[in-house]
């Protein structure tokens, strides 16, 4: 058990050493895998959106249009009328997290299993949330909003600035790590058939749900910040 956890968490994650100054600049495995995810996504985007027409559309364009409208409706409903301008960012993060969680299907290690990746995503979220508040209310009113509804509660509001990204990052990381650990255990016990059935739940369903939860919470915070 301990060896497996060590292998998953403590192993040297460096894949490429780039000479930099008088040392090495390390590129982690998670970064390379997220490059692969990005490459897949870019190829999909180019293939799906090339050659769009106004009249006499192809089946592919009809499918893309209905998918885009559907996902925009889902995110727009979460964000509300005022913050609808943030929908493209939320959808981008949703698609990226969903694909990185599902990359385990082709045998790679999901980049979201690295704490650094989820930490970066949650820091981006909290910066966006606070920026949305500043843009909407102006710096003075934004600072004042920390003392609402009472002055006594200011400490809690400031603390929330750190708790929110920590909980976002830990939730995503813990879920993906937990799913991977359970899958490894099952592969040790029953090497055939059962892992394939369970990976439908742990890789596809859980990955999508966690991506949705991440974006749901981010858009909830944005909605709260611009009110």
């Amino acid at each position: 058990m301990k060896e497996m956890l060590n292998e998953l968490l403590m192993a040297d994650k460096t894949l490429i050493h780039v000479p930099f100054g008088n040392g090495f600049f390390d590129i982690y495995k998670s970064v390379v895998v997220s490059w692969i995810v990005l490459a897949i996504l870019i190829v999909m985007i180019v293939a799906l959106t090339s050659n769009l027409k106004v009249h006499n559309i192809s089946k592919r364009q009809a499918a893309v249009e209905s998918a885009v409208l559907w996902i925009r409706g889902v995110v727009g409903e979460l964000l509300g009328e005022e913050a609808i301008g943030y929908a493209p960012y939320i959808v981008t993060v949703l698609i990226f997290i969903a694909f990185s969680n599902m990359i385990g299907l082709i045998g790679l290690v999901p980049p979201t299993m690295d704490l650094n990746v989820t930490l970066a995503l949650s820091l981006m979220s909290i910066v966006l949330v606070e920026l949305a508040g500043i843009i909407k209310k102006g710096p003075k009113k934004w600072l004042k909003s920390f003392t609402e509804p009472m002055a006594v509660i200011t400490f809690m509001n400031v603390l929330e600035l750190f708790i929110r990204p920590l909980s976002l990052c830990m939730r995503l990381f813990g879920n993906i790590l937990g799913a991977t650990v359970i899958m490894e255990l099952i592969k040790h016990v029953v090497p055939i058939i059962l892992p394939a059935a369970l990976s439908i739940y742990f890789d596809i369903f859980d990955g999508c749900i966690q991506a949705y939860v991440f974006c749901f919470l981010t858009s909830l915070y944005i909605k709260e910040a611009v009110e």
Partner: protein, 72 residues
């Protein structure tokens, strides 16, 4: 080693709280949908929010258990 295993097992008991929380939330959501089927979109969103927050406690327990095993 044996005491470490017991510590990790105690940390895994956080799952009880998360299980009770999620089951209560789901039960109430089912009730609400049965009463007002037209509001199921809103109820679904609130249910997912509640489940995500309740489930976070179990995740914290899991992270603590892994830390106990790794750093003991």
């Amino acid at each position: 080693m044996s005491l470490t295993a017991i510590g990790a097992a105690i940390a895994a008991f956080t799952g009880i709280g998360a299980g009770i929380g999620i089951s209560l939330a789901t039960a109430k959501a089912t009730d609400a949908v049965a009463r007002q089927p037209e509001a199921d979109g809103k109820i679904m969103r609130l249910l997912i929010l509640g489940c995500a927050l309740a489930e976070a406690t179990a995740i914290y327990g899991f992270v603590v258990a892994i830390m106990i095993i790794l750093f003991s």
